[in-house]
C-alpha cells in the first residue's frame, strides 16, 4: 500500500529523517514508534504529500507521489485519511459540518444522505447524537473521535493516525485503542499509527516500526520487539532514560 525508499528530510538545518525505508502492506496496522521529536509525524505526513522529501521516494498503491504537485494529490488524499494529533477540527463548524465536509467536497448534495452518513460515522466513534456541538465544547478525546469520524466518513482505503492517544487520560486512551482496532476490523482499512505509547502500539499493531536516529531501527512483529535485547529498543520499551537520581 505504502512504500518509502531512502527518505531523507531536512527541516531548517536539522536532518530529521536520514534514510527511512518502510513498507506498509494493504490491510495491516503498522505502528511507527519512536521518541518525541524523532520525526514520526514528519514521516507519515509524507504519505499524503503534506511534506515533500528532501530526497528519496514515496510510493502509494504503486504510484510514486514524491514529486506530484499539490493539485494532483487530490485523488490520493481521498484514498488516505489522516487523523491529526489535535484532531484539527474546523473550529467555525459544528461537529456535523466537520464530518459532512469531505462528503460535500466530494460532491454529495442530498441532505438526508449526508445526515445519515454523519450519524453513522459518529455512531462508529461512540459519539452518537453530538452533531450540534462546536469543537470548543468537546474534550480532547472527543475531538480526536470527531476527527476520526471525519476521516472515515468517506471510507478511505487507509487511515494515518498521528499520536491518537497523546494528551488523553488512560481510560480515554484505552477507548481510542479499542476504537482503532474495531474500525480496522469493521472497515478493513490499512492503518498506520504513529505513537510513543507502548500500550497503543501493542494493542493495535500487526507490525511495529521503531524510528530511531532518523532511520527505521526495527521493523517486525510486536512479539519480536518485546523479545529484543537490543539496548535502544529495551530502553524505549521499558522507558529507561539511562539517568540516575
Amino acid at each position: 500500500m505504502i512504500s518509502v525508499r531512502n527518505l531523507i528530510k531536512t527541516l531548517g538545518t536539522e536532518k530529521v529523517l536520514r534514510g527511512v525505508d518502510l513498507e506498509v502492506e494493504t490491510g495491516e496496522t503498522c505502528v511507527i514508534m519512536g521518541r518525541s521529536g524523532s520525526g514520526k509525524s514528519v514521516l507519515i505526513k509524507h504519505f499524503v504529500g503534506l511534506f515533500k522529501p528532501t530526497s528519496g521516494e514515496v510510493w502509494v498503491e504503486g504510484e510514486e507521489i514524491t514529486h506530484l504537485e499539490e493539485r494532483k494529490l487530490g485523488s490520493l488524499r481521498k484514498k488516505i485519511g489522516m487523523l491529526f494529533q489535535s484532531g484539527a477540527l474546523f473550529d467555525s463548524m459544528t461537529v456535523e459540518e466537520n464530518i459532512a465536509f469531505p462528503l460535500r467536497e466530494a460532491g454529495l448534495r442530498n441532505p438526508r444522505e449526508i445526515r445519515d452518513r454523519v450519524a453513522e460515522a459518529l455512531e462508529m466513534v461512540d459519539l452518537a447524537g453530538e452533531q450540534e456541538k462546536m469543537p470548543e465544547n468537546l474534550s480532547g478525546g472527543m475531538r480526536k473521535r470527531v476527527g476520526l469520524a471525519r476521516t472515515i466518513v468517506s471510507r478511505p482505503a487507509c487511515v494515518l493516525y498521528d499520536e491518537p492517544t497523546t494528551g488523553l487520560d488512560p481510560i480515554a486512551s484505552d477507548s481510542i485503542n479499542h476504537l482503532i482496532r474495531r474500525l480496522q476490523k469493521r472497515l478493513s482499512m490499512t492503518s498506520v499509527v504513529v505513537t510513543h505509547d507502548m500500550k497503543t502500539a501493542f494493542h493495535t499493531a500487526d507490525h511495529i516500526a521503531f524510528l530511531h536516529e532518523g532511520r527505521i531501527y526495527f521493523h517486525g512483529l510486536p512479539a519480536e520487539l518485546r523479545a529484543s535485547r537490543d539496548q535502544a529498543i529495551v530502553n524505549f520499551v521499558e522507558g529507561h532514560s539511562g539517568e540516575t537520581d
Binding site: E70, K78, I80, S86, F90, D91, P102
Partner: protein, 261 residues
C-alpha cells in the same frame, strides 16, 4: 552595514516573490477550480456588510472636517463657493479610497490574517489539504473575489456619504447657501473622479487581501505567530496602500485627468 542592507533587500525580494506566487496561484485557481459561491457570499457579508459602520463614520466625519478646514481657509480668500467642489474632488480622488483602504485593512485584513493564521497553527490547513481541498481554492479565492467586489462599493459609499456630510456642514453649520457651491461641485466633479476612486478601490482591495492571506498562510510559532500575523498584515497593508497610492495617482491621472466636466 552593507551586509545588513543586502539581507533586507533579499528578504524584500523573497517576500515580493512569495506574494507574486500567491497572486499567480489564486488567478489560476479562479480560472481552473470551482468557485465556492457560498463562501464567497459569506465573505461579501464579512467584508462589505460588516464594514458599514466603519465606512459610514469614516466618510461622514472626514467629509465634515475637511469641509470645515477648507472653509476656514477659503473663506478668508472669498472662495467659499469652491469648498464643496474641493472637498468632493479630494474625497473621490484621494481621501475616499485611501481612508477606506486603511480602515478595511485594519478591520478585514487583520481578521483574514488572524483567521487563516489560527487555522495554520492548529493544523486546520493541513487537514484541508489532507481532505483533498486546496487551501487557496477554499480560503484565498472567496476572500479575494469578495474584496474585489466589496471594496469599490465601500469606496463609492464613503465618498457619497462624505459629500452628504460636506453639504450638511456647509449649509447647516457654516451657513454657505446659494447655488454657486453646488454648481461648482457638479462642474468640477464628474465620472472620471468616480472611475479613479473605484479603480483605486480595486487595487487597494488586491493589496489588502493578498498581504493578509500571505501573512495568515505563513504564520509560524503558535500563539505568538497568530498575534503577529494580523499586526503585520495591517502595517504592511497600510504602508502598501500609502506608497502605491502616490504612484497610482500619477498613473491614473493620465487615464482619468482632473479638470472641468
Amino acid at each position: 552595514m552593507l551586509t545588513s542592507l543586502g539581507r533586507t533587500a533579499l528578504s524584500l525580494l523573497q517576500y515580493l516573490g512569495e506574494l507574486a506566487k500567491l497572486v499567480y496561484e489564486t488567478c489560476a485557481a479562479i480560472v481552473s477550480a470551482p468557485i465556492r459561491w457560498r463562501l464567497f457570499l459569506r465573505q461579501v457579508v464579512e467584508v462589505g456588510w460588516r464594514s458599514q459602520p466603519v465606512v459610514i463614520v469614516t466618510g461622514a466625519f472626514t467629509g465634515a472636517v475637511l469641509t470645515a478646514q477648507t472653509f476656514f481657509q477659503f473663506n478668508r480668500l472669498g472662495m467659499k463657493s469652491a469648498v464643496g467642489s474641493v472637498v468632493a474632488v479630494a474625497m473621490f480622488r484621494e481621501l475616499g479610497p485611501v481612508l477606506t483602504g486603511l480602515m478595511v485593512s485594519g478591520r478585514v485584513g487583520a481578521s483574514i490574517a488572524a483567521e487563516i493564521g489560527t487555522m495554520k497553527v492548529t493544523e486546520q490547513i493541513d487537514a484541508l489539504r489532507a481532505l483533498g481541498v486546496h487551501p487557496i481554492d477554499y480560503l484565498v479565492v472567496p476572500r479575494v473575489l469578495a474584496m474585489m467586489i466589496s471594496m469599490p462599493l465601500l469606496v463609492a459609499e464613503a465618498c457619497a456619504i462624505s459629500i452628504i456630510a460636506s453639504r450638511f456642514v456647509l449649509s447647516q453649520v457654516l451657513g454657505v447657501t446659494g447655488p454657486y457651491d453646488w454648481y461648482n461641485t457638479q462642474h468640477y466633479v464628474g465620472p472620471r473622479d468616480l472611475d479613479m476612486a473605484l479603480t483605486k478601490g480595486v487595487v487597494f482591495a488586491v493589496l489588502i487581501v493578498f498581504i493578509a492571506c500571505h501573512q495568515g498562510l505563513n504564520t509560524k510559532n503558535g500563539a505568538v505567530g497568530v498575534g503577529r500575523a494580523p499586526t503585520e498584515a495591517v502595517v504592511l497593508g497600510s504602508l502598501a496602500i500609502l506608497i502605491l497610492n502616490f504612484f497610482l495617482t500619477f498613473a491614473l491621472n493620465m487615464v482619468f485627468p482632473a479638470g472641468l466636466n
